[in-house]
């Protein structure tokens, strides 16, 4: 009995995202073909613009992350932004975060790649903070609609707050904290060479902190 339920559960879980997409498309098609109704039109337009945004920059972002992964040596990352790095690391992370564009979920793969290469958790969180709140392309928009005064004050107040929060968050986490290996190939697929190397790295992080 159990395997059947597990299998059914798994199938539901796999199908759910696509069912949700199908629902939005069905609502949109209903609006288009049967009778116009605002909800269907809005939902369809929303999904379309999100999909465009995602397709435009996420694959490129992931390719960059993959290249970063194979080319940049761990020792370099550790020396500049690792556990024992100085305050200059904050500057690097803020620069890296503010020069990018796109929604926050686009920063997660970069943050995870940095983490796996030995970046200190606080610096990863500073990167995420800078990315989410202080992206320069976004600031130009903010200035246009809310005024430079609002934008300037927000930047000046937000910067120290998220740096402080990054340190707090690092302290909250246990020293040997690890992140899930969610970006691995899905179960069932044969393991490639990429996998052991990433796992090895995760273990190195662990050892480094234990000693």
């Amino acid at each position: 009995m159990a395997p059947l339920t597990t299998r059914a559960l798994k199938a539901t879980k796999t199908a759910f995202p696509w069912a949700l997409v199908a629902l939005v498309i069905a609502l949109w098609a209903y609006n288009r073909l049967v009778t116009p109704f605002a909800f269907g039109r809005e939902a369809g337009a929303g999904l379309w613009s999100f999909s465009l945004e995602m397709a435009a920059f996420l694959p490129a972002m992931f390719v960059l992350v993959g290249l970063f992964d194979v080319w940049v040596p761990r020792s370099v990352v550790e020396r500049h932004v690792g556990r024992d790095s100085g305050p200059l690391a904050i500057l690097w992370m803020v620069l890296l975060g503010t020069l990018q564009a796109g929604p926050l979920y686009g920063a997660f793969p970069v943050a995870v790649a940095l983490w796996r290469k030995g970046t200190a958790p606080r610096n990863v969180f500073i990167y995420l903070g800078a990315f989410s709140a202080l992206k320069i392309p976004m600031l130009t928009f903010e200035v246009a609609f809310l005024g430079w005064q609002f934008s300037l004050v927000r930047t000046a107040v937000t910067l120290p707050v998220f740096i402080f929060l990054a340190y707090v968050l690092e302290r909250l986490l246990p020293a040997d904290v690890t992140i899930p290996e969610a970006q691995k190939s899905s179960p069932g697929k044969p393991a490639s060479q990429a996998m052991p190397s990433t796992r090895q790295e995760a273990e190195t992080v662990h050892d480094g902190k234990a000693s």
């Binding site: 939005v24 809005e42 993959g66 929604p103 979920y105 392309p137 609609f145 809310l146 899930p180 970006q183």
Partner: protein, 156 residues
Amino acid sequence: MEALLAITAIAVVASLLANRRKTLAGVRRGLRMFVNLLPTLVAVLAAVSLLMAAVRPATLERLLGGGGPLPFVAALIVGSIALIPGFIAFPLAGVLKDHGATTAVLAAFITTLLMVGVVTLPIEIRFFGRRIAIWRNLLAFGGAVVVAVVMTLILR
């Protein structure tokens, strides 16, 4: 955005010239991450589309307009939950401002919108695990409240 595509193209070409095998391994690794994330991403984006279609901008204006603590709290909650791209969020904030939303409300809305992501939490959990993702969002919410209050004091 064009800059990102240009940088990626240059990086791939340079990497190919330096080492073909390494480049292919890197690109393949990156794309596999993307494909594995896709179902979670798609579910979140579809759910957000439905949510945003259900909430009209007029409703937001009514909710966030005016003074007092209620619009401020509403702004914190709406900003935390919503996933609105910057090119829509700032014009919307501009409209709210014209409709008499206070600096406190605008600051609360913008800061939580940027720093807290309740609907994208499933994506964040996929990458960082439950503990880090939830703590980061809780702290970011607290930070957003502090930023909004300090901004109100400065800009009043």
